[in-house]
Symmetry: C2
DNA sequence: AATGACTGTTTACATTTGTAGACAATGAAA
DNA sequence: TTTCATTGTCTACAAATGTAAACAGTCATT
């Protein structure tokens, strides 16, 4: 079971998934583009993630280098499954139908998805 | 902006979305099929939902009848948007692609979705 | 009228989450 | 070697969440 990652922690993970390993300061520099957090906050989040073994640490002299231990793809799979299960009874079709009705699907989206499905059937 | 509904609260809402209005005890009786909660817990959750104006109350003698004030569909739309935004950059196609890769899409699902998309284009 | 069953209200309490400040170690610079 | 900057660790603290117990009002029953 992959440990639960909170919203704030997730923002940190996104940065690490883009490039790793990174020092806490580097992560903070990146995160700040999206969130208005202090360095301390980012350090706390990194510690929590490390405690949960979601990121790994590697000593580099006085500081640590952090890297994700969980793949983004695996994380997405888990979260998506959970989401679809909880809200759409585990079925993807109702989810797509819902997004479509809520006008979240443009004509382009539809074409893209059709193309994707066509590929899948091969 | 629809108030945030927590996981536990959501379970209560699902029951109310199936049938309403209901008394706290009735809700608890239903919820217990999925969650192992005491009547007290369900009452607390109903109170919190009422405080957030997500469910409405209507006096019926000594007790209350609870009904959802938020439509399930609207709730799903909000949560789905948030989900797709946060995890897939707001694009539905990557979500579908991901679910497909994670083998969450059966051949039947694919057929269903294709049919759905065909309908949408009309 | 007293008692018990039901129901809402108040209070509780541990955990998780968001958001850091304070402190300590340590390497770099003067 | 004194000092400053960097970096991790410890502590903090309020809000949200999960999970209820305790209490109080009240209708039904004895």
């Amino acid at each position: 079971m992959t440990e639960r990652i909170s919203d704030a922690e997730h923002a940190v993970m996104e940065v690490l998934w883009q490039r790793a390993p990174m020092t806490a300061t580097e992560v903070a520099d990146q995160v700040v583009h999206h969130k208005d957090w202090s360095l301390q906050t980012v350090k706390t989040l990194l510690s929590r993630l490390a405690a949960k073994a979601v990121v790994g640490t590697e000593r580099d002299g006085r500081r640590f280098l952090y890297s994700p231990l969980v793949e983004r793809d695996d994380y997405l799979t888990g979260v998506s499954r959970n989401f679809v299960d909880r809200l759409f009874g585990g079925k993807v079709t109702p989810l797509v139908a819902h997004l479509a009705e809520a006008d979240k699907l443009s004509a382009d989206d539809i074409r893209e998805i059709e193309e994707l499905l066509r590929e899948l059937k091969k």
